[in-house]
């Protein structure tokens, strides 16, 4: 397993990103608390940091939407972060390239590692893991399974960078199969080739999800997130169920057969009824057994923070360093005791951490260790203690 090398964020620069024409920010501490009213650009700052790892960032935004409204020049945005690692500093940059650049692709962002193209996105992911929590996730258990699946996949990806490729390959094979079925171009060998890809990548992705759920549950049962309630996560997925009883190659065979046998129904439905894209994630309070969707907003928030803290501890153990934590308004819906506990947990983890809030008082427990910054459209100013 690769070692997550980022120990501290030293510098963050934004160019024509969201509301920022140009921003140069040098956090002075591992933990930074960014305080400002709603709409001041705090979340945009976290989103920028979240884009320093592969993926669509904490808002899941399209690349074109990240460009500042009214940006002049070539119409390109950029985000760059400088990190301190065990072997010195390194720079991760991302953004769009001007049209006509050698490796520019429309609506694609590219990465730079120390100014040069990385060998692969996995190289970036091996240096920096990031995990985030946003107010939108408070609706995670009221909304569609796709959101929970994305949340789970983000947790897996932070631990195993190769997971993103398995999921993307699975989805590409499925999209091609859906198209072939819709066009009724009945080439069984072609469909079988795509179903083989769905089976191989789908089983690999499901096994990685199941592995993460088991490790996370074990860590949470040990109390790594206490005093946040220990959550118990379940993976609701027939492939994962098969994997409990049979070796992966047999499950691939089972999935291939299931897909091949379901072609007629899948053509009618316009989608595959079996596969890794149907997985869902459940969360419950391990002590009371109450599932998250039946818990109060405050209890759900506490459960999710427990998951994020437990996951960060897991990464710290498995990859040698905690992930970058991006917590947007984590104190909302938390009582005073849990706010203090959150501050203590962040101090213990000690990785690069950005926390936002509308008032600094909620993070009094970080007063001695964190840098406090006031966020305004013009940039970040140190906040007087």
């Amino acid at each position: 397993m690769s070692e997550a090398a980022a120990r501290r964020l030293l510098r963050l620069t934004l160019t024509d990103f969201r509301n920022y024409p140009a921003l140069l920010w040098r956090p002075e501490t591992a933990i930074s608390v960014i305080v400002g009213p709603n709409g001041s650009g705090k979340t945009n700052l976290l989103e920028a940091a979240s884009l320093l790892v592969p993926g669509r960032g904490l808002r899941g935004a399209r690349v074109a939407d990240l460009l500042r409204q009214g940006a002049s020049g070539a119409g390109d945005w950029a985000v760059a972060g400088r990190f301190a690692g065990p072997d010195g500093e390194f720079d991760i940059g991302t953004g769009t390239l001007p049209e006509g650049s050698p490796d520019a692709q429309a609506n694609r962002r590219v990465f730079r590692l120390n100014g040069a193209p990385p060998r692969s996105q996995a190289e970036i992911a091996s240096l920096l893991a990031a995990i985030w929590l946003t107010p939108q996730m408070e609706r995670l258990f009221q909304e569609a399974a796709s959101g929970r699946r994305r949340f789970l996949d983000r947790l897996v990806f932070a631990l195993e960078p190769g997971h993103a490729r398995e999921v993307a390959s699975y989805e590409a094979a499925m999209a091609n199969r859906n198209r072939l079925l819709a066009e009724a171009r009945g080439d069984p060998a072609w469909l079988a080739g795509l179903e083989d890809g769905m089976a191989r990548h789908g089983v690999a992705a499901s096994a990685a999800r199941a592995g993460l759920v088991a490790r996370l549950n074990a860590a949470l049962a040990e109390g790594v997130a206490a005093p946040f309630p220990a959550a118990y996560m379940t993976l609701i997925c027939p492939i994962a169920e098969q994997l409990r009883a049979a070796p992966a190659l047999e499950v691939e065979e089972w999935l291939r057969d299931g897909l091949a046998g379901g072609r007629a129904q899948d053509r009618q439905a316009g989608a595959a009824r079996l596969g890794a894209h149907r997985a869902d994630m459940g969360l419950a309070d391990a002590a009371s057994g109450i599932p998250a969707q039946l818990a109060s907003t405050g209890q759900q928030k506490a459960l999710l923070i427990g998951v994020v803290l437990g996951h960060a501890a897991l990464i710290a153990t498995a990859r040698g360093a905690p992930p970058m934590l991006l917590l947007d308004e984590p104190a909302v819906h938390l009582d005073a005791d849990h706010r203090a506990a959150l501050c203590a947990a962040l101090r213990r983890l000690g990785g690069p951490t950005l926390v936002t809030g509308t008032d600094a008082e909620a993070y009094a427990g970080l007063r001695d260790e964190a840098g406090f910054w006031a966020c305004a459209a013009s940039g970040l100013e140190p906040l007087a203690a």
Partner: protein, 197 residues
């Protein structure tokens, strides 16, 4: 800038892979400043190559001879065909000198989303060659992308009934990576570690 001729030249250059408008302007300027030593030799080389180079009717390789220099080389192992996506992949394998047999250029990979079907690929000559009684092994050396893997699966399905051994090179290619971007050592290892398909 300097009239429609220069604009057209820059416009054509900028469409070449690896060149954008800025490098196209630099290349055009360099040539225009030295027309006799750089521009006219290039122009005649372009015209000559366009006239003479054709796809090999047997394997699809680009050469001024047909059959191409590889298909015509009697010292090569004629019992093995390595199937690649593009001539660029053939060049990469030849640079690394890791394959002693013949090649077959497929001209793409199956993609329902991009509308590329078996009819769009150089498949019938491959099936004819594989079934001619001389060929004993067909190595599938397409990239480790979803489209590459699907195409290898499809080809194996068609080739196996012809009585040839169908193998594929080892997995582990970089993300979306075509063979062309791999270094020679990786190519050699991938080809050595091929497995039954």
């Amino acid at each position: 800038m300097g009239g429609p001729e220069i604009d057209r030249l820059i416009g054509l250059l900028a469409k070449l892979p690896g060149l954008g408008p800025r490098s196209a302007r630099r290349a055009a300027l360099k040539m225009l400043q030295q027309p006799d030593t750089r521009m006219l030799p290039l122009a005649s080389a372009l015209a000559e190559a366009a006239r003479a180079v054709k796809p090999c009717a047997s394997c699809g390789n680009l050469d001024s001879r047909d059959p191409c220099f590889i298909c015509a080389d009697l010292h090569r192992d004629r019992t093995t065909i390595c199937v690649v996506e593009s001539v660029g992949d053939l060049w990469a394998l030849e640079r690394a000198s890791v394959h002693r047999g013949l090649y077959h250029i497929l001209g793409g990979t199956l993609s329902a989303l991009a509308g590329i079907s078996p009819d769009d690929l150089n498949i019938p000559p491959l099936l004819a060659r594989a079934g001619d009684g001389t060929v004993r092994e067909v190595i599938l050396a397409l990239g480790a992308t979803v489209d590459g893997a699907t195409t290898m699966h499809w080809l194996a399905d068609r080739l196996r009934p012809l009585g040839v051994n169908v193998t594929r090179i080892a997995q582990g290619m970089p993300m979306g990576g075509a063979l062309d971007v791999l270094d020679d050592g990786t190519l050699a290892a991938a080809l050595r570690a091929r497995r039954p398909s």
